[in-house]
């Protein structure tokens, strides 16, 4: 069972987002970077499948040279191999991203491709599906539980009314959502091993065309209208008053 997990390096913006002067990118000078949350769970799911069924887990990312940090983190968690499709750091649109990834893995015999449902930053909801189509894999998104057995997948996803179970034959491509598992932390020996592992690196050409980003805009927040009810237990009667005004607790007489 050979599994590929596609991940993306994204900033962790914390309390607010600031844009560069030309409104082309988020200022990341003072920010940490992480793996997009749904994809952290995709890595964990791949590791669990490998532990059960055997095989290998390969992580892949398309991004700046710095994305090696996220590949090494995944290898520290237990991924066997890593592929970096190195760009100059500018954002690639979903079509270009999918084309480059599909090209890079077309000749590699993966049984299962795992993606995050959508990236935390650009949130296009489509890279996994496009890769699946190019490689002629069946594709299912939004998966919250995955069972791999005898060449078949049983996948559950949530609906507003409950959940649905889907059956798919391998090879297949699946995008997962946070909550499918709780990702593990890398062990110290894992981190040591990951430092020495090679990373297969190539520099794909960016295909022309596609949608063209003009600028980013931070939506205007409303002006603060906060009323401070107090700094200690003395605020409790005021809180109860608020709850009564909002009709959350009924007035009693």
């Amino acid at each position: 069972m050979n599994i590929l997990v596609c991940i993306k390096r994204v900033p962790s913006p914390g309390r607010n987002i600031s844009l560069s002067e030309d409104n082309q990118e988020i200022i990341t000078r003072n920010l940490g970077f992480t793996i997009s949350p749904h994809e952290e769970c995709a890595i964990e799911e791949a590791l669990r499948i490998k532990e059960k069924c055997g095989g290998t887990v390969t992580v892949l990312t398309l991004g700046a040279a710095e994305a090696v940090e996220q590949l090494r983190y995944a290898m520290a968690q237990g991924a066997d191999e890593a592929i970096l499709l190195q760009t100059d750091g500018r954002e690639w649109d979903p079509m270009a991203t999918a084309q480059a990834i599909a090209g890079a893995i077309a000749t590699k015999p993966f049984d299962l491709l795992l993606f995050g449902n959508e990236s935390a930053d650009s949130g296009g909801y489509q890279v996994g599906c496009r890769i699946a189509h190019t490689l002629d894999f069946p594709f299912l998104s939004g998966v919250k539980s995955l069972l791999v057995e005898a060449g078949k997948i049983s996948a559950r996803r949530d609906t507003p009314a409950g959940s649905e179970i889907y059956a798919i034959d391998l090879p297949a491509a699946i995008s997962v959502k946070e909550g499918i598992n709780l990702p593990r932390y890398p062990s110290l020996p894992g981190r040591m091993r990951a430092r020495r592992k090679p990373i297969e690196t190539s520099q794909p050409n960016r295909p022309p065309g596609g949608p063209e980003m003009i600028r980013l805009i931070v939506p205007e927040g409303a002006e603060s209208k906060v009323e401070i009810l107090g700094n200690d237990i003395g605020a409790v009667p005021k809180i109860v008053e608020v709850l009564q005004e909002l009709n959350i607790v009924k007035m009693k007489f």
Binding site: G14, C129, A167, G179, G230, A235
Partner: protein, 318 residues
């Protein structure tokens, strides 16, 4: 002509599709597509929302929702009709069908749009990023243009028209369109108040400190018929299940009151609770970013305040 996909689940209309039609009407004449025989009862309701024609796609294998088969059906009909653009709701299924369609056609897809206008042969679009904390302005080329409309960005506006024609279409579907098979549906049992629809959410963050700390929040929530929520830190610590998580990668809530206890309010959390009518923050840190966005704040320890609220409500004179 603009083609809008009407999403339904076994004949139950997804109202997000009606919101999508509000945006679609700004772009031109709108015709609706309904897929599967269980959607046959929908035209009456849908025809009230400003469309000029309804296309019904029926095929013996089009039963339960299957993204690839829906995308293939939509592709065939849109191509016959030479649609200028195809729109769907930015729901889980809407985005999934559009991704399949975009992959089939090898055309760009702009998901979760909040604004669209024609500009020459392209569309100028605004779409949301970071769950709504950031907006991207972009040029969308392609024929047809493919896009989905962000949830809650528009309201469904009735706009009845006379004599909406209904046209049935036959499509060709192949085994490959059914490689992902729905085998079972489970309706959730109504256990307690659901987070997504609760009138009050009592939510805890890092400040709660432990899994046991949530007992104080549970006690208050139970007393006021609320649901318990939490931030991502809390689920990552294993203090609460992910189904309690409010935020970009969890549940979006829209209660009358959101009580944020020990939550600092990173943007990823904020997008999950900003639809609340009122927000009450209980936090020891007066600089927690969520305070500036709240309606009420108490700068104090939740471990002291939350049980005191519960006690005060219980102790009110009868």
């Amino acid at each position: 002509m603009i083609l809008g996909l009407i999403e339904h689940d076994r004949g139950v209309l997804n109202k997000a599709s009606l919101e999508m039609l509000t945006l679609a009407r700004k772009l031109g004449t709108v015709e609706a597509v309904i897929i599967g025989k269980e959607g046959m009862a929908l035209p009456q309701a849908v025809s009230q929302y400003g469309i000029s024609k309804i296309h019904l796609i029926v095929h013996e294998r089009l039963g339960d929702y299957t993204a690839a088969a829906w995308a293939s059906s939509l592709d065939q009909v849109a191509s016959d009709l030479a649609a200028e653009a195809i729109l769907a709701a930015g729901s889980e299924r809407g985005n999934e069908v559009m991704a399949h369609l975009a992959a089939r056609l090898n055309l760009p897809l702009a998901t979760n749009c909040v604004k669209v206008e024609s500009q020459g042969s392209d569309y100028l679009i605004n779409r949301i990023r970071w769950g709504g904390s950031l907006v991207e302005e972009a040029r969308l080329p392609g024929h047809p243009k493919l896009l989905s409309v962000a949830l809650y960005a528009f309201t469904a506006e009735a706009c009845p028209t006379e004599n909406v024609a209904i046209v049935e279409h036959k499509v060709k579907l192949i085994d490959k369109d059914f490689r992902v098979r729905m085998t079972e549906r489970v309706e959730s049992e109504g256990k307690g108040v659901s987070l997504a629809t609760a009138r009050v959410v009592v939510s805890g963050g890092r400040g709660v400190g432990t899994a046991e700390g949530f007992e104080k929040l549970e006690a208050l929530a139970e007393l006021i018929d609320g649901a318990v929520g939490c931030s991502r830190v809390v689920t990552n610590q294993g203090w609460r299940p992910h189904s309690d998580q409010v935020g970009q990668t969890g549940t979006r809530v829209a209660p009358d009151l959101y009580i944020a206890c020990g939550i600092s309010g990173a943007i990823q959390h904020w997008v999950g609770c900003k639809a609340a009518k009122k927000i009450l923050v209980i936090n020891t840190d007066p600089d927690a970013p969520i305070i500036q966005k709240a309606d009420y704040a108490v700068i104090a320890d939740l471990h002291e305040i939350v049980p005191a609220i519960t006690a005060a409500i219980k102790a009110r004179p009868v």
